[in-house]
Symmetry: C2
Subunit: 217 residues, 2 copies
């Protein structure tokens, strides 16, 4: 199969879809949309995804949005190598790691990223989000110190979900250095060396370069 | 297999785990914990789930928390009937429906439920959450009018994820009638008749009564 993946540079959710396709070696046609040009609000794109969000996957007449849906679809369509584990136990562990991010870190990390790249003063909301982010990342730092990948000996959907937000924080530390230092997040890979080593492992995967946000270069 | 499921009455996430076990007819031992007695903060329970949250599933030595992880584990361990579809396309559609809830409705509906059962005045935050909740539920009302279940002709993980929050809103409309009316949510099954009919279908599933929150009776 050759699918089309619609994505936007630097979207952590779109990044998941690209990493999934690369790790599974699913041939795909890259459809890079530009947020700033309004590409996600055109009638053509809204016909594919009424929410006007990336990622979107198109496989002939079948079209879906939402990153976990795209990863699950690709994994059913071309099962090897599996993104969600070879055993029921690994499947369970991989989903725990995904929910650790989506349920406990996704919202506070969004708040922190907005603050890092903005010019607003710290608010109690930022402080609360900061506390959650530090606790969850410290937990992740410990966990990723126990093996090369989050679950088992191969990269899985869990690594794919965690990678983009962690890599975005590394960049935030460079681009918004003073603010990142104020949060105790910088230099990110010195503060969290296990995460740094794991980021390097992800970046060494074949095809990784195809997923790197073009506007970061 | 016989697993143990730790749950709490009325937790929408724990409810998912029970519904999954009932629909798949996985034998399970029900471990009902009482939030008000501090059952989730005992050393014994924190050893099972350091987050002190339900649901938790135990299968001999294997223990996991997080509802989607538990559903995915059960589905791998005992594949029939599948919770996540028989085709790649249905798998994709089921995950889109799950993410429609978890990404767009979970947070605003939590805000609305806190307000409904509290005594605080409306704030701009409540108004913003209300707008999102009404838009997503109207979308769901349309969608569930197109077939008996969210995806395909059998109940799936998508129905399991959507059912508890919708059923909680029905109850909110009864318990907090004035406030629910103020939000345009009451009587819920009159405002959203397709959702009402679907709720009745879920409630007619074998084993449903075992999942009903005891403190609602």
């Amino acid at each position: 199969m050759t699918v089309q993946i619609y994505w936007g540079s630097g979207s952590p959710f779109a990044w998941r879809a690209l990493l999934a396709a690369e790790i599974k070696r699913v041939p795909y046609e890259s459809k890079l949309l530009e947020f700033s040009k309004g590409d996600l609000k055109t009638p053509e794109f809204l016909a594919l995804n009424p929410r006007g969000k990336v990622p979107v996957l198109r496989d002939a007449d079948f079209v879906i949005g939402e990153s976990l849906a795209i990863m699950s679809y690709l994994d059913r369509k071309q099962p090897d190598p599996p993104l969600f584990g070879r055993t029921a136990e690994d499947t369970g562990r991989i989903w725990v790691a995904i929910e650790d991010f989506d349920s406990y870190l996704r919202d506070p990390i969004t708040t922190i990223n907005r603050w890092l790249f903005g010019d607003k003063p710290r608010t109690p909301e930022v402080d609360e989000a900061h506390g959650k982010v530090m606790a969850e990342i410290a937990r992740f730092e410990q966990r990723i110190g126990r093996g090369p990948w989050l679950v088992g000996n191969v990269p899985s959907a869990a690594d794919i979900v965690w990678f983009p937000p962690m890599r975005i924080l590394v960049r935030a530390g460079v681009r918004a250095e003073a603010r990142a230092r104020e949060l105790g997040l910088f230099p990110f890979v010195d503060v969290f060396p296990n995460i740094g080593a794991w980021i390097a492992r992800v970046e060494a995967l074949p095809g990784y370069a195809n997923t790197f946000p073009p506007h970061w270069r």
